[in-house]
Each structure stands twice: as structure tokens, then as C-alpha cells.
């Protein structure tokens, strides 16, 4: 099962990646589990473990318990600063 992952702002810059296609390992079916997979890459990826990193699934804010599966768009980003 493949998902599209997007990164924004300071996080995108630190990771050097704005978008990637990612094959979900067996058993990975939630935002929290996906996040752990990405943090396990080490180095700058450990930034994703920070509590203030926000997540969205299919362009809606979503928590760690949210399900992820084939074709979903998942995003990781810092706290928002618009307005």
C-alpha cells in the first residue's frame, strides 16, 4: 500500500524533501505508526518525533490514531503561523 507524504515549511527545509511516495510496511496503518517509520530513518528525520509537529490526512487535520492506507495523502508540518 502506497501513500503520498508531504512536508511543509521549516520541516520541509530541514528534511530536504517536500513530497515522497512511501510504501507502507506491513502492519503500518495509522499516522502514529507511519511517523515512527519515518523517525527511524534517523538524523533530521528525528524532528518528526517532536510533539508540536502537526499531521493531516487527505488535507484534513488528523491525530496519531487516524487511519492511513492505499492512496492517502499524509502531511507533516510545524505549527501554523498565518494571518
Amino acid at each position: 500500500m502506497r501513500v503520498k507524504i508531504l512536508y511543509f515549511a521549516a520541516l520541509r527545509e530541514a528534511l530536504g524533501v517536500s513530497v515522497e511516495d512511501f510504501d507502507l510496511p506491513a502492519g503500518v496503518a495509522s499516522v502514529a505508526a507511519l511517523r515512527e517509520c519515518l523517525v527511524a530513518r534517523g538524523g533530521a528525520w528525528q524532528r518528526l518525533a517532536a510533539a508540536n509537529v502537526k499531521t493531516a490526512v487527505n488535507q484534513r487535520m488528523a491525530g496519531g490514531e487516524a487511519a492511513v492506507g492505499q492512496g492517502d495523502e499524509v502531511a507533516f508540518f510545524p505549527p501554523v503561523t498565518g494571518g
Binding site: 515549511a9 521549516a10 502531511a75 498565518g82
Partner: protein, 156 residues
Amino acid sequence: MIEDDGGVSVQQGDFDAGAEIAALASGRADVGGVASFIGVVRDANDGSGVSAMTLEHYPGMTEHALGEIVAQARARWSLLTVRVIHRVGRLLPGDRIVFVGVAASHRGEAFAACEFIMDYLKTRAPFWKREETPAGARWVDARDSDDTAAERWKQK
């Protein structure tokens, strides 16, 4: 101006605040008050000068998030017309960033909804500011005071 996009626009270009305010009550006799807010780029932040800023956003989600915030405001207060415009891209001090306009039958609803939309936009809409300062460019940190401002609208 016809509200064919749920009243929400995300755009690079500037907006005409006077025309937007006039449009909120145009052609209807039930409007008793219009409240509006315009956000402007400052030339300083956190103790250093700011010569420009660039607003990044999450295309698609931004429009959903703003539409959701407007829907929440409409569910909470009796509103007639709502308009939200947020600019993206590179802006200079003095440039307008954001417009929120609300028309209602009574001022209380217009004032409250306008402030609610801004407070929620600040904490829930996926925009990020990067400032250009004499020491280089930096991402703006989120403020706790913005979270506090949004918290106070929570219904018990």
C-alpha cells in the same frame, strides 16, 4: 462580488478592502452591521527588522480549512455574508495579508464571528511565514498567545 467559492479565496494578489466590505451588504436590506479585519505586514518582529516575508501554504487543505472555519462561524452565529481572503507568496511591510469580513443583522454577531474566524485561522489554517531579517531568513514561530486566543472560543 458574487460568493461562488464559499466566500474563501487564497491568492497572491492584493485585494480592495473597500470593495470587499461594500460587497458584503450589497443588494440586501437585512444587513444591520458589517465587521471587518485586515492583517498587515509589520516591519519588525521579535526584536529585529523585517524587510519582507514569504507565506507558504498547503494548497487544497488551506481552502478546506478556511471553509471549515467559516462553516463553524455560521453554525455558531446568525450570519448573512462572510468573506475571507488570505494572500500567499512574498509580501513587503505595509502589504495587506488577510481580510475577514462578516455581515449580520446585529453588530454583536458580526464582531464575534470576525474575531472567531481570525483566531481560528491563526491556529488551524495551514500557512507558514518566513521572514527576511538583517541576520538572514527565519521561519516565524507559532505563538502561545494565538493558542490562548483560539481556546477561549471553546464551548463547554
